[in-house]
């Protein structure tokens, strides 16, 4: 246990020395703050556009005007852009964190040194995972804090206690989702023959998980998947998509994330509790756990096979 803690502390310290880590974290935090502002600005403008439309339609002699659809939006929906930023920047940041964690040690020779000490492989991996988890948890807690504070500062609809629990549940789920990508970064940093491959392969998988699989399941084009309003709309009129929903949807982690994320951030305006939503989406949680455990086991087996003599990393 002591070894795990020592490796975890060293992991955190090393990450804090990396400039690219701060760059990614800065972009991520900035976008989270921006998302609250964008949500507020769009919400206020849409309301003003509705009022202007009412005046215009009255001038045209039209008296029957539907109610403002924006007013039926739940307060949490203002945060729906966070799903996209977590999905994009959060995952990329996690890949980079996982990648740097192991590549650094392969290049500097620290890994060879570690293997000469009485440290088990599981301690090395666990130490790294704990270190990475702490860093990711701190970043995600910061974004959650920013979201909650901004909901009180900006004149949005105020969040109730149920909303805050749903928001926090979303961030907790997001933490485990991005953790999976850090595992991928770590795994390929162990196995890849070059530094570029160690980054390109997980990015390729990330694109597959984030765009290709959801497109096959929903039939939506890649950029349409980035619109939180349509994120959970399914095209099931064609038997192909019905088949894909049956076969691919259960393992499409990206689709599970956006789907459960949208429900937690209440894009469909319901009155469910966070627990109810998790209970009805237990498959999404199970698939994420399976993916995390499988990645851990793969890392463990790859590190056991790791050849310290013939595994010099190059470009």
């Amino acid at each position: 246990m002591h070894q795990v803690i020592v490796i975890a502390i060293s992991e955190v310290k090393n990450l804090l020395r990396e400039r690219v880590f701060f760059l990614l974290m800065g972009v991520f935090l900035l976008m989270t703050i921006a998302s609250s502002f964008i949500g507020w600005s769009t919400y206020s403008t849409a309301n003003a556009v509705y009022r202007a439309s009412v005046v215009y339609l009255h001038q045209q002699g039209i008296s029957q005007i539907p109610n403002n659809p924006i007013l039926s939006f739940p307060a949490l929906a203002s945060f729906r852009n966070v799903i996209v930023y977590m999905f994009l920047i959060g995952s990329l940041m996690a890949i980079v964190i996982g990648n740097r964690s192991f590549i650094r040690e392969r290049k500097s020779g620290v890994l060879q040194l570690l293997f000469t000490r009485p440290v088990s492989i599981s301690s090395i991996i666990l130490g790294k995972i704990v270190g990475i988890s702490v860093v990711l948890l701190v970043i995600i807690s910061l974004t959650a804090t920013v979201s909650i504070i901004s909901s009180f500062l900006l004149p949005l609809q105020h969040l109730g206690s149920g909303d805050i629990i749903r928001l926090l549940t979303f961030y907790l789920y997001s933490f485990f989702y991005v953790l999976l990508f850090s595992f991928l970064g770590l795994l390929f940093a162990i196995t890849a023959k070059s530094e570029s491959l160690a980054l390109f392969i997980p990015v390729c998988i990330w694109v597959g998980v984030s765009f290709v699989m959801p497109e096959l399941v929903t039939g939506q084009t890649p950029t349409a998947l980035l619109n939180p309003v349509t994120i959970d709309t399914l095209t099931s009129q064609v038997s192909f998509f019905a088949l894909m929903q049956q076969t691919l949807a259960p393992i499409s982690i990206g689709w599970h994330y956006t789907s459960l994320g949208s429900q937690l951030l209440n894009t469909s305006n319901d009155s469910k509790t966070a627990f109810d939503i998790l209970l009805t989406n237990k498959n999404s949680i199970v698939i994420l756990i399976i993916a995390l455990v499988s990645s851990y086991l793969l890392m463990f087996s790859q590190l056991r096979k790791y050849d310290i003599i013939n595994n010099m990393i190059n470009e």
Binding site: V84, S108, E215, E315
Partner: protein, 328 residues
């Protein structure tokens, strides 16, 4: 003459080196695979629209109602390319980043540049050779994608492209090559400027994610009409023409939203190619000169990005110290 020969030799070396690279090949096959999948999904989506139309038609006829307002979906083969173009925007850009990165990283990693420059070749000629070789490589990538597109549309989709449609595909191919070249130049520049190779690659990815995915997404999210599934104006029974009149009162907001979108080179490329291929409905069946005239602004943006980046990258390459040291 000798200078030209040197440039061509470097270009050929650059071209063949990258063709043998596993990262490049992996991304190329990934992109080609996605092109096929996206056209297939596009055709299924069209089938779905036809099936919805037929069901609605039958229901209205059976109910004795008029079918006058029912719009029959029309088949425009080039509209099936939406997914392929979006994958070129996303994966194509990653591929171009890989080409730019690998082109400089191999010299930094192996210290080969120092050796080459002991030979009678100017730095600028060497770099022009790289630029030229990689331009050909990117041209080959987009050519492979567009040939796949035409083959799938013609032989699998059974679509007969007219001469004008074929010309539109060729014009889109040229603009796609220009778009990917911008990402190649960006990635080369960062790999030249940043001492640590992994950091250069990560910075390139951050720029990619911002330009390609985040900035256009912000613009889309800020669009009032995108706030409600099916459209905000549609939900309050306001027509497209009426919405334009109403939005004239919100020019400040719309200008800011447009400025955010204009910050992304991807959006310029997308606007241009979506217009050419008729994916944006209002440009469907319009002539190429009309579309290019209407989208001249986007062409200017793409050309300006390429010109400025070539100048900056060339300047950086020729001015930078020859002794590159990579951080440990």
């Amino acid at each position: 003459m000798n200078n030209m020969f040197q440039i061509i030799t470097v270009a050929k070396k650059e071209f063949t080196d990258t063709l043998r690279n596993k990262v490049f090949l992996t991304f190329l096959f990934f992109l080609l695979g996605l092109t096929v999948i996206s056209i297939y999904i596009g055709s299924l989506d069209f089938q779905s629209k036809v099936s919805i139309y037929q069901t609605a038609y039958q229901q209205l006829i059976q109910g004795g109602q008029s079918v006058k307002n029912l719009i029959k979906p029309e088949f425009f083969p080039l509209q099936l390319l939406r997914g392929s173009i979006e994958y070129l925007e996303i994966i194509g850009a990653v591929l171009a980043i890989a080409i730019g990165y690998l082109s400089i990283a191999k010299e930094k990693g192996n210290n080969t540049l120092q050796l080459i420059l002991t030979r009678p070749i100017k730095k600028s000629h060497y770099f022009l050779g790289k630029l030229f070789g990689n331009a050909l490589l990117i041209l080959s990538v987009t050519l492979a994608v567009f040939i796949s597109i035409v083959i799938i549309l013609t032989f699998i989709g059974g679509a007969q492209l007219s001469n004008i449609e074929s010309l539109k595909v060729v014009t889109s191919f040229i603009y796609s090559t220009m778009y990917l070249y911008i990402f190649y130049l960006l990635s080369s520049l960062f790999t030249l400027l940043i001492r640590s190779l992994p950091s250069a690659l990560i910075v390139s990815f951050v720029i990619w994610i911002m330009f390609v995915l985040i900035v256009p997404q912000i613009g889309d999210t800020m669009d009032t009409d995108n706030q409600v599934p099916g459209g905000f104006f549609n939900a309050i029974h306001v027509s497209n023409t009426q919405s334009k009149i109403i939005l004239q009162q919100f020019t400040g907001y719309e200008t800011a939203r447009n400025a955010i979108e204009e910050a992304s080179i991807t959006k310029h490329y997308e606007r241009l190619v979506f217009a050419l291929l008729g994916i944006k409905d209002i440009y469907n069946n319009k002539s190429i000169p009309f579309i290019l005239q209407d989208k001249l602004n986007e062409t200017i943006w793409l050309t300006s990005y390429i010109s400025v980046l070539i100048v900056i990258t060339l300047y950086t390459f020729t001015q930078k110290s020859l002794i590159w040291k990579e951080e440990g």
